[in-house]
Amino acid sequence: MKPLPENVVSARDLSKVFRDFWGRPRVRAVNGLNLNVQRGEVFGLLGPNGSGKSTTLKMILGLLYPTAGDLRVLECSPRDVAVKARIGFMPEDSYLYRYLSAEETLLFYAGLYGMPASRRRQRTDELLKLAGLEKDRHRRIGEFSKGMARRIGLAQALLNDPELILLDEPTSGLDPIGCRQVKDLILDLARRGRTIIVSSHHLADMQDVCDRVAILLDGRVCAEGPVAGLLRKSDTVRLTLQGVSEDKLSGLLAYLERETGARPQVDRTGETLESLFIRVVTAGRQGAP
């Protein structure tokens, strides 16, 4: 018998109401949310602005406290400080100290994990390399472009080699190559058994990396499930052919039309703009002196 998948994050009837100074309810940001994120999956949290994505992430991080319902993170209360040693978080905005250099930033956050000096130094070097910021290690964050700040933000989220990684808009502000690198990194982390929760508006990116998604609206889950399952149209099939001559294609189309009673739609797929961009820029950089 196949064991039930372990829930890394589990929310039951979770609600969050923000109150005003006098304690009167002002905003119900999360409203009876039920959610399970399983170990080793990439889970996408989608929804329009104000749908409760950020509030949910902050509750998972223990920054906000639920008004009602139950929330467990790695089988602990999110307010348990010790559980945060197993979590990595990349915030939406660069909540980094502008006057610290890239290296100092990573050393500082590594210090918060209580790492000894040698381990701090080692992880900092590894992650600066991973983020492609080795040459900018002594530059202050305040001088960074948004893309560079996102990369250092991602690097600090991986300092503790976390079991659960929360990424809020991870590709925002990145160029297509940076985007691709981040997506590849997410997939690589998932392959290594890490659980990743991604919140983003970049639906194409989410489609590329997520195993499952939940679409939030007004603090509730409106749709949830595997990406492939949610996107499947039950009566539509896409057939991809390669190296077919025009004559054979005409014959195939006529046959399919006869058999199905409907004219098949043909589109000639070329390279995606993303892959074209990456190919051109990579070739240009390699050719540059």
């Binding site: 923000f18 905003v27 940001a29 950020s54 509030t55 902050k58 991080l61 223990g62 920054l63 906000l64 406290y65 400080v81 010790a82 559980v83 945060k84 040693a85 979590i87 978080f89 915030p91 905005d93 909540y95 980094l96 100290y97 006057y99 610290l100 100092e104 500082f108 956050y109 210090g111 918060l112 994990y113 209580g114 790492m115 000894p116 600090q156």
Partner: protein, 455 residues
Amino acid sequence: MIFRRILAVASQTVKQAVRSRALSSLTLLLIAVLLSIPFLIRGDGTLAGRLQIVIEYSLAAAMTLLSVTTLWAAAGTVATEIEERPLFLVLSKPVSRLELWAGKWMAIVGLDAILLALTGGIVAAMVFHIVHSAPPGSPERESVVRDLLTAREATSPDLSTLTRAPAAEAEEAAADETTDEEDAPAAAPAAPDRHAILAACTVAPNRSLSLVFAPRALAPAAGLSLAFKFASSRPERVPVLCAWTFTGADGRTTVIATTNTPGLRYTLPVPSPAIVDGKLNVTFSNLGGRIPSTVVFDPTAGGLELLVPQGGFLGNLSKGLMIALLRLSLIAAIGVSAGCLLSVPVAVFLSLFVLILLASSGYVQHVSATGVFYVPHEGPMPEQGLPDRLTLRLFEAINAVTAPLLDLDGLPLLERGRWIGGALVGQAAKVLLLYTAVVAAVGVLLFQRREIGRA
């Protein structure tokens, strides 16, 4: 592990202070204040007067500046990071609110320690520069070295011998009253009150007052001095002819005659043979003068003191600054706790309010003790209404909290050349660190309940 996290927060806070140029600006301002005070305040032109200005006003100005900036920085450091959001990321790491609080507090106290050391260095340099500007061996230089640059412990006369007669009368009176009541408890010996002491220290013309001083520690070759100040029965300040008779072990006496003006403070060198079994016996005689007047000493307000040298100026300054650092650490704790709970402006204003309360604790204690807010220049005392009574209760409550802090300050002793003893430093450390711990506990407890990142 905990210490590494605290250290990480502290080091980041120090870097912020350094790189935002807040520390360099404050350092320059502090140096400017310390160096400009002697030029801004006009003294009496004497060497002692110039030294008093440096020691008293420069240190007071530095402490005021550091208190306000400590409060501002402490209240702002957490509150700003919550508003600008770097704390969202910090608190998503395994760092507890207590560790965050401790790191911020440690950084601010560390910076205060550096700035206080700088203050001490500048004040000491200025003091020695002024002293060396006087010719070596000159009476003025000798006088300031003896009176200001030597830390001397002040000992009041034995009050029980002074008030023996009134106390004995009181005991007899108490005994008479209880003879009829067999079950009444035995009356405890009454502590001499201020009125009894002043009555005992009132010396009419051609009368004498015998005093016994028993200092805590006495070096045999110590250069002892007698410091005194008296009031006169006459409204005009008529000089009084005085005689001080010191009695030695062999019964030989040394008499020193002085002419002193009421209201002014004097010091008198004590002849060394006058010390017998660690005690000094001296008799003051009021010889009258051109216009005889009765004089009154107030030993409870430093009107009669034996000054015993205990150390040098630098050691005393160090201890004074150590107590100042303990006071700043409490102020930093108040600021950090307020900043953990409130927005920047509210935290700063609340902390300033607390600072003003602490600064007014002398007045609060006076009102709590006497029940009098002010004494009108003319007319009778106004009757107290309900608001006055409520305010008095409030003052009493505040006084209950602030009274233990009242005398824990070394700088007033420093400016009078008084010895700052280890007992005072120990007491200051005990009380101020206890208060700091209480403020920290309350601040962290409430901070843990605070949500970070509200919409």
